[in-house]
Symmetry: C2
Subunit: 328 residues, 2 copies
């Protein structure tokens, strides 16, 4: 009975998702079920990626934070990022929208057109939709991606791997803070939040060249997502805070504030991945050739601990507070 | 500007979906985009069905109307019905759930387990999930179905086709009324609402035997869904109210109340399909062999009007009021 009355806010989103993984596992055509950025299924002699994600008004976004079309683009990108994290290409999209009865047609039109345009730009077709009434805007996206090569999973990291992250960290979370505050700011200051880019090219390169042992996208925050990856791989990690590629937008902030945004802020939608020693050179050469920015920020360790090199435990806790919808 | 300020409640769900169909049409691998029960895509030398649907608390259901597991089963069935209406088999499911922070873990567990069990029973694997915080329960489902044979579309009906419907009509809407009223009733009285069955076997038979020119599932209500089918096919229809297979649960009601539930009530999740004259005998023989109940209720006509045989226009309007979330 104690368990029966337990609230989701006690368990947390990740706790609940961990329980889901205990569902009876499916079949030979399901190569990877619940628990990674996308599922991997086999059909018609090929591998496909399936993923779904929802964006809820006033939880994930406010409608005043961008144009309807911009919000539609963002809804596509954050879902495509789950395909990128597995090394795939988005092919087909389904868009389920629920809005209040008083929603404006122009706003809905803008959202759908922004979503469809962003999808098209990365080779993905919006093929199905659904519209319901609801108390607030709620958008749920499902993507089907194609996978060539070996999928990037969370679970393949090994002690000794170098840990890499793409792009720069912290600007999206900083942009979200500006938007939350309602501060006056240039559109540029919030651009990183409003226009995340799914790292599809990088993910595909990693899958094609088999450069990475494990990968995840940085949605909850670097530290939190590193934790998911390490738990799935049963390893630990040490991150060198000096090497974190901090976004230029954070330049005016104090050192620890910048680190906290980079480590705990989330919504960067960069890829975090681990590379075995013998593939580091090739990975760096491939990244240079494709002009993809990647930075070595630490390494995978034995044991299960995540550490920040040269940072005390209490300071590390402050710097790495992650994002869990149900615990905030 | 007049258009810019237009509310969704003026346009209605179906009006908005009609606009979506004007989006630039995709590619050779998209055989059928937005506008039918499922999209049809080609991948790996096969045809696949993709569909998404959402269930919103206090719009589509109340949490008190069934056990969490029962609601999970229902969420699967109403989505599987969109695969049934195309003649396919559900293969993979994605489940995106948004709930308030105070949601109980046991309730969520029950919902997911009910959903997964119902999926498994029809050969479908739940492969991905997502959980968010939101002001109310919102469940969005995406299904990938497999299609062998020729898809059943809404758009193939021709004048002269016989119109068939499976099973019985009206009991789900009657059950919903009982639940809405909060009347005391036996569980049996609301069973048709709580446990719709996707007509997968019938849909597959129709696709395999090429018996139907067009099909749709009865979700909004027979009259409303017949309208969708006829608009897509650019035809009209005449329905014989005497021949409608009214559910036994309606026996205690007045004649017009029964007809209104059968025609306008919705949520029956039966299949409505049209059969060309030369295939009627074979269809009826196949249905008998598989013990699938189907009833000839009218025929497709030229022109675009929908008529109820022997019923005045004003009485017909009362009997056929459909369901549109944004106009109620």
């Amino acid at each position: 009975m104690a368990n029966k009355g337990r609230l989701l806010s006690d368990l947390g989103e990740f706790g609940f998702l961990a329980r889901l993984r205990t569902l009876p596992t499916p079949r030979r055509d399901v190569a990877l079920g619940i628990g990674d950025d996308s599922a991997i299924v086999r059909a018609g002699g090929r591998q496909w990626l399936l993923t779904t994600d929802a964006l809820i008004e006033d939880v994930h976004f406010r409608r005043t934070w961008d144009t309807p079309s911009g919000l539609g683009r963002r809804a596509y990108a954050v879902n495509a990022s789950d395909i990128a994290a597995m090394g795939g290409r988005p092919r087909f999209a389904l868009l389920s929208i629920a809005v209040p009865k008083a929603a404006r047609v122009a706003e809905l039109d803008g959202f759908v057109r922004g979503f469809a345009a962003a999808a098209r730009e990365s080779g993905c077709a919006l093929v199905g939709g659904n519209l319901s009434a609801s108390p607030c805007w709620m958008v749920s996206v499902a993507l089907v991606g194609e996978l060539r090569g070996i999928a990037l999973r969370r679970s393949g990291a090994r002690a000794g791997d170098s840990i890499y992250v793409s792009g720069h960290l912290g600007a999206a979370a900083f942009g979200r803070e500006i938007l939350l505050d309602g501060r006056r700011a240039t559109p540029r200051a919030t651009l990183a939040w409003r226009r995340p880019r799914a790292r599809l090219e990088l993910g595909q390169m990693l899958a094609r060249t088999r450069s990475a042992n494990a990968a995840i996208d940085v949605s909850d925050g670097l530290w939190s997502d590193l934790g998911h990856l390490c738990r799935a791989s049963r390893v630990g990690a040490v991150i060198d805070p000096e090497r974190l590629p901090l976004a230029r937008a954070l330049r005016g902030l104090e050192g620890d504030e910048r680190l906290a945004l980079a480590l705990g802020g989330g919504e960067d939608y960069e890829l975090l991945f681990t590379v075995p020693p013998q593939r580091v050179r090739r990975l760096e050469a491939s990244a240079r050739r494709l002009s993809l920015e990647v930075t070595n920020i630490g390494r995978v360790t034995t044991g299960r601990a995540l550490r920040l090199a040269g940072v005390s435990a209490s300071r590390a806790r402050r710097l790495t507070a992650g994002f869990d919808h149900f615990r905030q």
